[in-house]
Amino acid sequence: MSLAHDARVTVRPATMAQRPARAWPEVNNPAAWIVAVILLIMPLIANSFFLIEIFATTLILGTIALSLMFLAGYGGMVSLMQLTIAGFSAYMVAVFGVSANTNISLGWPWWLAVPMALTLATAFGTLGGALAVRTEGIYTIMITLAIGAAFYYFTNQNWAIFNGHTGINTVATPHFWGVNWRADIPFYYVVLAVAAFCYFAVEYLSRAPFGLALQGVRDNPRRMAALGFNVNAHRVAAYAFASFVAALAGVLQVWNYRQISPGSVSVGACIDILIIAVVGGITRPIGPFIGALIFVLLRTFALDFLVRLGLDGNRFRLLIGLGFLAIVFWSSDGVIGLWQRWRQRQGLNAPSSRGGRRHG
């Protein structure tokens, strides 16, 4: 047991603890129902560009960031390798499944390739976590970043499995029951279902013994050991769960783009996940999805916006960076924190209000 737990990344305690135990928190929140209905009827409202490029992409990135939120918000462990785990899972779908690179892909049907990819990616993330939990705070960040960077360079240089810098192209997507599940509308619902499943799983787990104990580990690992908990085993288990969530999102990602290449697992992309989670807020599972929506909207539209102002469109990252700075400066729990304080100032809410929810 290290005594250095004071140096760990501390998370402002979430208001989640104020909600009554054992109840589903969303059921009585009308905003959550409205958002749920909008998400369900989205294909009637949005054209295919918005459906896939904005909303499906948001949900996929949000799910990866959700896995980071789970580790950082509940466990106090900032892992920069969550995108790497998703990317590993995506690569495994391409390697075991069907793609245009017939010399690499083994041609398994999707229902065999996907469980294989999920298993391997979860094992990969758990091993990475087992390394990372020996450290605290900034060293956890460094180790997980090193794993992410190593994987990026490895995929670039390995041709036998990862096909070097060109990656694996034209990855097959599932067709069954007469449905092309990569067609825009079915794919949107697949993504929505997976994201909702992960969201509710994290939400549910936060009040289950495993999740509560993880929050105990975040608050005071030494005391957790003095209550009979094996703190490191708990942390590794948290990495395993988070890896599974990230791996699910990785499968969706490779189906979304139908290809995977080192560019998708770059160090920059790993850091984007951190930005998404922090901008949205890492105290609650909804935060990463809000962060992802902001990120995707900026990434998609900031370019046109900047060009219209007569600036270089490639500077959209500048906008994201400035937004990131503003958020961490004014609100250490992200947009959901800002939103909540605004609601409180409006005097609209009871102390337990958790306004502005999206599910999924």
Binding site: M1, V11, P13, A14, A17, Q18, P20, A21, R22, Y204, L205, R207, A208, P209, F210, L212, A213, Q215, G216, R218, D219, N220, R222, R223, M224, A225, A226, L227, G228, F229, N230, V231, H234, A237
Partner: protein
């Protein structure tokens, strides 16, 4: 006839806690030197000594927060010297901390629930506790026992100091404790709260032994039957409370200087 030495000779392998030659170094500094202490099951003992005498380090070695540099520690006959803290806790050892070590982001109820869960199965359970969960009831009872039922849904960060100290004790009494280490439980408590603390300690079931570190003699000597006096990391004296209180050397050391 009832001297500490006499009792110790009769204890043998059944001692609740048996330290033999425990030494703990911090670099070149010896925080504990050759400490040998035996406590029988159900015995209640105070450890006295000025600041820096090694009292809290002694606790940290017993629980495994720091492993001892040398020596052996037996808990109910079992050599636990190299066990991680959680293995000792699961065998019935408990402790409180001098500076409250709680989970500020969680509610009082959740703090106590975690303590109950830590010494039972299902620490990794993915299922939320149901309405009739036995550990939830155990947690409810503990919360009541330390007079915190009124604030059980409040976050610990919002509690008053005295309430945090009471919660600190509740966490140490979860499950089936066999031996408890109390590290200055009365620190910063009001006179009323001290009386409540004494009541909690004296009403513990007789089979639960404890060691208490306490500067307040009024509290310490009312709740123990034996005293170990430490000085500069060594055991200086052992005896009954009245022997220690009337010992001239102890009076000079402890009551004369160094006491905060």
């Amino acid at each position: 006839m009832d001297s500490v030495a006499h009792r110790l000779s009769a204890v043998g392998a059944a001692a609740a806690l048996e330290l033999r030659g425990v030494t703990r170094m911090f670099g070149a500094l010896a925080a504990l030197t050759d400490v040998t202490i035996t406590v029988r099951p159900g015995e209640r003992r105070a450890v006295l000594g000025s600041n820096g005498a090694g009292k809290t380090t002694l606790f940290n070695c017993i629980t495994g927060d720091f492993p001892p540099s040398s020596g052996t520690i037996r808990f109910f006959g079992e050599d636990v010297t190299h066990f991680p803290p959680y293995e000792r806790i699961r065998r019935g050892l408990r402790r409180t901390y001098q500076i409250s070590a709680l989970f500020p982001g969680l509610t009082v109820q959740d703090n106590v629930y975690l303590a109950c869960r830590g010494v039972s199965r299902g620490r990794f359970s993915f299922l939320r506790p149901g309405q009739n969960d036995a550990l939830m009831h155990a947690a409810d009872n503990l919360v009541q026992a330390v007079h915190l039922a009124a604030v059980k849904d409040q976050r610990v960060a919002e509690l008053a100091h005295g309430q945090q100290r009471q919660l600190e004790i509740a966490l140490a009494l979860a499950g089936a404790p066999r031996f408890v280490l109390f590290d200055e439980p009365a620190a910063g408590l009001s006179p009323t709260e001290r009386a409540e603390l004494i009541e909690i300690l004296t009403s513990l079931p007789a089979h639960i032994g404890y060691i208490i570190i306490e500067h307040d003699m009024d509290v310490a000597l009312r709740v123990v039957e034996s005293v170990t006096m430490m000085h500069n990391g060594r055991v200086f004296k052992e005896g009954l409370p009245q022997e220690i209180q009337s010992d001239p050397e102890v009076q000079e050391l402890y009551l004369g200087g160094g006491h905060e």
